[in-house]
């Protein structure tokens, strides 16, 4: 959407909740009539998706501590619409926060496959990115991208909550550009 002009729901975001539904209905009908369905509906879905990312609430290693801290009072990831959910059926984002061993690999794949489309994966920390210090160990998957497709990598051992929030915001940029 980089070359497209800004769509009018930027203005909708500034409205009060009471006025939102009629205004959105009117603006969308006008836009669909003017530009065609695909050019309007897709940005709306992307806008809704990137502002309500639901990551899977699980932890693999010490990165999960930072993951938990990011949802606490000090960093408050919920202000970006990021709410961890306990069931993969309700999630569209998997944050792989820790060392992935071969023993847990097929469980990770099962959880990923249980998530509904569209879905994204963030590899958080050095272990999930490339195995980290355990890269040549007998039990560690050298990077979770061997198992599932990864959209954003966050470096750090472990990354600070600010880094995790930055990764989530970069994923939101990716979703903003999403075409299909």
């Amino acid at each position: 959407m980089a070359s497209e002009p800004a769509v009018p729901f930027v203005e909708i975001e500034a409205l009060r909740a009471q006025q939102f539904v009629p205004a959105a209905k009117e603006a969308l009908s006008a836009m669909i009539a003017e530009r065609g369905q695909e050019k309007v509906v897709r940005p709306v879905f992307n806008w809704a998706g990137r502002n309500s990312l639901f990551p899977l609430h699980w932890g693999l290693a010490c990165c999960a501590i930072e993951f938990a801290a990011a949802f606490g009072a000090r960093w408050d990831a919920e202000r970006f619409g990021v709410v961890p959910r306990s069931s993969p059926r309700q999630c569209d984002l998997m944050i792989v926060n820790g060392t992935v061993t071969w023993k847990v690999a097929h469980k990770l794949i099962t959880l990923y496959e249980q998530m509904p489309e569209p879905k994204w994966v963030i590899a958080m920390g050095n272990c999930a990115t490339g195995g980290g210090p355990f890269r040549t160990a007998y039990s560690v998957v050298p990077g979770v991208d061997k198992l599932v497709p990864v959209d954003v990598y966050i470096a750090g051992c472990p990354p600070r909550p600010e880094a995790m929030l930055d990764g989530i915001l970069r994923l939101e940029d990716l979703i903003r550009e999403r075409k299909e």
């Binding site: 071969w102 023993k103 690999a105 097929h106 794949i109 195995g131 890269r135 040549t136 160990a137 007998y138 039990s139 050298p142 990077g143 061997k146 198992l147």
Partner: protein, 158 residues
């Protein structure tokens, strides 16, 4: 209990299957035994000498042979004792202790997958820490660290 007392108590039951009883720091001693006396030794330790808690089972790869060791604890004596048996590397097997102390079950599974010591009559000898079908015994001295890609090819489980 001193090593000499331990030997006096065990020798009538085990005969020459008991090798030596050595002093060992902060324990009643280290009992070295032949592996064909394993089950008799375990039962004697539990029933006659009141070592009712098996703290751990482990195995060590000494390259020319492997050693299986057991750490027992007695609440009544409030002391530890070590049991130790040597097994040859080309026929590394010993009778399971899990019929005498059920806590041996998982310890023996770990010792089997890490050091490749087979425990006869074990009720459930599956992989514990590594995935099913894992091709290596990582704590053997002969195990070399692999390149990740090589490990991925040899580890066929997902």
């Amino acid at each position: 209990m001193q090593p000499a007392d331990l030997e006096a108590a065990l020798r009538p039951k085990l005969g020459d299957r008991l090798l030596t009883v050595e002093p060992f720091a902060r324990t009643a001693g280290r009992v070295r035994f032949r592996r064909d006396g394993a089950l008799d030794l375990f039962r004697t330790m539990r029933d006659d000498l009141a070592y009712r808690h098996l703290s751990m089972v482990g195995a060590i790869d000494w390259v020319d042979h492997r050693e299986v060791f057991y750490v027992l604890w007695s609440d009544e004596r409030t002391e530890y004792v070590l049991l130790s048996a040597d097994v040859p590397a080309d026929d590394a097997r010993i009778e399971t202790a899990s019929g005498v102390w059920p806590s041996a079950n998982w310890h023996e599974r770990e010792a089997w997958e890490m050091v490749d010591v087979l425990f006869d009559h074990h009720p459930d000898l599956r992989h514990l820490l590594t995935p099913d079908g894992y091709a290596f015994h990582p704590l053997l001295r002969s195990f070399k660290l692999h390149e990740p890609e090589e490990l991925e090819v040899k580890t066929r489980h997902v």
